[in-house]
């Protein structure tokens, strides 16, 4: 039964650093040929201090966590804007907070580093078991 109310936090989850090997594996798994995720020299040329973790990895982590929330039977919409670079050594904190309930539950999503830097923001709409 849907007992969620506005302000409920579905999760606030700290993720361990992805590591370079998992970032490289994500590139392989998504068939992403961009060297910026695996090549230090290329990343430096593009103006970054290290290879970049993929934005879609953050999206995928939100999807994984949302599908694990009790009562969630369906993600209808997942919408994220990437707001800052993420590096493989970064710990991220992913948070989902309910802002609307009704036929679907809408929650605000944020990802931030442990120093407070926001790296993604957006929302999800969820189908909940009734």
């Amino acid at each position: 039964m849907n007992t969620l109310v506005r302000g409920d936090v579905l999760f606030e989850q700290k993720l361990a650093p992805a590591s370079r090997s998992r970032v490289a594996l994500f590139s392989e798994a998504t068939q992403d040929p961009n060297p910026i995720h695996v090549d230090d020299v290329f990343a430096a040329k593009a103006g970054f201090s290290n290879v970049l973790q993929q934005g879609p990895m953050t999206t995928a982590q939100f999807a994984r966590l949302l599908t694990g929330v009790a009562g969630v039977i369906w993600i209808k919409t997942l919408d994220l804007t990437f707001t800052a670079p993420v590096y493989p050594e970064d710990e991220l904190i992913l948070r989902a907070e309910v802002v609307e309930t009704g036929l679907a539950v809408r929650c605000d999503l944020t990802a931030r580093k442990t120093d407070g830097t926001q790296t993604a923001r957006g929302f999800a709409e969820l189908g909940i078991a009734s």
């Binding site: 934005g55 995928a60 999807a63 993600i75 997942l78």
Partner: protein
Amino acid sequence: MNKSLQGHTYPAYRLRPDRTLARKFMSALGDDREPETVPPTYLVFLRGETLGVNLFRDLDIPREKALHGGQRYDWFLPVSFDDELDVIAHVDKITEKQGKRGAVWFADVSFEYRRINSGELVLREVTRLVKQP
């Protein structure tokens, strides 16, 4: 950025979720279990690059200037490993904004995933690509 591509629709390419890639996808997220279902965001625009939708080339975004601005997924039906999908990419919008270092370009590109037998729309994905100065 190649603004003439705005409004362009690519020919459909065909895709079937691959269990090996799905396993790698979940392992990259730190979950080494065998995926029983297709991970929700396994379907991602990047898979189109080798199948005829080379956005970085066609939009004239050199890799070293490319950033990923965001993603939106709208799911309409579940996707299974048995589904074969036709994917149609459409360049929705190309915009330019002046930044501190020069022009920054944004391209919103949508991808519709339909079951080949029924034509049912299972997913719409919109990705926002950014070209830095």
